[in-house]
């Protein structure tokens, strides 16, 4: 149970889950309008779309980049606490009690987990309730009439969880009962239309807010889910670390043999990012021609080095040359060079691409 009950003279305090999208921005603002002290919390799972790929790829560096959760907090004029939940989140991804959505997104378990973490934070910091930007009927898994109460119940937040954008469609919450929130000033949004949110954004004067297309994390991305599924299947375990899931966001991934895959940098920014992993992986660099840095993930058998070198040559400027020199650097030995014939396009089956 929540330990701290504010005195009548104190301003009630709420923490808002801020994802960086429009809904959480609006939800926090609606509650602030009613005189509640709001601070933001943002959970970093390792799969968040925010930042990473923009930071890696050189072509994206020219564009002004921002962290949308921080941007939201600045718009609202509130503090934002960014919390690393990478380790604890693994169990949510690996063993979701309620299963996955269209890809490897365990949205319902994820929501329960995040609200539960927010509840713990609230208890620790003497706050009173939790705000999320959920909208009834907006998402197929976690924002349905039958699953929204599950989030409130299983997170332990119960009636201290307020969804200001659709509160009128849901049971009365504790802050409403206590008179901290006027139900009439909350909303009853329902369904997938974004129009009500856009109108509310206009009312509050929010412009230039983020509108992520495919959800807030990479687990909803089909291509990403295929790569993660491949990693799990070939390793025979679903365990992962942050580097594993970061590397799935970068480069071309090809699996020529079940025992290894190659990660090929697609441009300078990715090559530089992959360079940071040189000590952990066997890697190859074309020396006679310019070309990408290639990391090899897996245990190499006889003949695999040459195959990987020919594949590396294929992605170099020497792809049509009779011979390309590839530097091979094992993890625990000195580098050596191999002269190889690049693979032809026909020698790379489509199903090597993950």
């Amino acid at each position: 149970m929540f330990a701290v009950v504010p005195l009548m003279s104190q301003k009630p305090k709420a923490v808002a889950l801020i994802s960086g999208g429009l809904d959480s921005l609006l939800a926090a603002r609606v509650v602030m309008e009613q005189g509640v002290h709001v601070e933001g919390i943002n959970f970093f799972t390792g799969f968040c779309v925010e930042g990473h790929t923009h930071a890696i790829r050189k072509q994206d560096r020219a564009k002004p980049k921002r962290n949308n959760a921080l941007w939201s907090a600045e718009q609202l004029g509130i503090k934002l606490h960014i919390i690393d939940i990478i380790e604890e989140y693994k169990d949510v991804v690996i063993n979701p009690k309620h299963g996955y959505g269209a890809n490897l997104n365990p949205c319902l378990d994820c929501k329960i987990f995040m609200v539960e973490k927010a509840r713990e934070w609230v208890e620790e910091h003497g706050f009173d309730f939790i705000i999320t930007g959920e909208v009834l009927g907006q998402r197929p898994m976690s924002q349905r009439k039958d699953t929204m109460p599950v989030v409130a119940r299983d997170s332990g937040a119960r009636d201290r969880l307020v969804r200001p954008l659709c509160a009128k469609n849901l049971p009365v919450t504790m802050p409403e009962i206590r008179g901290w929130l006027d139900r009439d000033k909350l909303y009853g949004f329902n369904g997938r239309s974004r129009k009500p949110q856009m109108a509310l954004a206009e009312k509050f004067g929010f412009e230039d807010y983020a509108q992520p297309a495919g959800g807030c994390c990479f687990l909803t991305d089909k291509q990403y889910a295929v790569k993660l599924g491949d990693l799990w299947a070939t390793r025979g375990t679903r365990e992962y670390d942050l580097d594993d899931i970061m590397l799935l966001k970068v480069g071309r991934h090809l699996r020529p043999r079940p025992n290894f895959k190659v990660i090929v940098g697609r441009e300078e920014g990715e090559n530089r990012f992959l360079e940071g992993y040189r000590k952990r992986f066997v890697h190859m660099i074309p020396r006679s021609h310019s070309g990408p840095l290639v990391l090899i993930d897996g245990e190499l058998a006889a003949g695999d080095i040459e195959l990987a070198a020919r594949l590396t040559a294929r992605f170099s400027q020497g792809r049509d040359a009779a011979q390309v020199t590839i530097e091979v650097k094992p993890v625990d030995a000195d580098a050596h060079c191999l002269d190889v014939l690049p693979l032809t396009a026909d020698e790379i089956p489509a199903d090597w691409y993950i």
Binding site: G51, H52, P64, N67, E74, I82
Partner: protein, 77 residues
């Protein structure tokens, strides 16, 4: 007054922000933190985090691919 060095090199945002945040919350007003980074996104994200929490960035050094952000811890208001 103390100076804390946080090594956030080879980490991508928001990890450098989290590392900076975790260091700053343990310090007193007037203490300083140097955050060593390689992700160019930090020149936007760490100042944004500092603005909303009332801390001051007093210098950003960029040398090649390395960026050092110098934070002076504020009162947190």
């Amino acid at each position: 007054m103390s100076t804390t060095v946080v090594d956030a090199r080879n980490l991508l945002c928001p990890m450098p922000v989290i590392r900076a945040q975790d260091a700053v919350v343990k310090l007193q007003p007037g203490d300083t933190v140097q955050v060593l980074c390689t992700d160019p996104g930090v020149v936007h994200d760490i100042p944004a985090w500092c603005r909303i929490h009332g801390h001051e960035i007093f210098k950003i050094d960029e040398q090649g691919h390395e960026i050092v952000i110098h934070i002076c811890v504020g009162t947190g208001n």
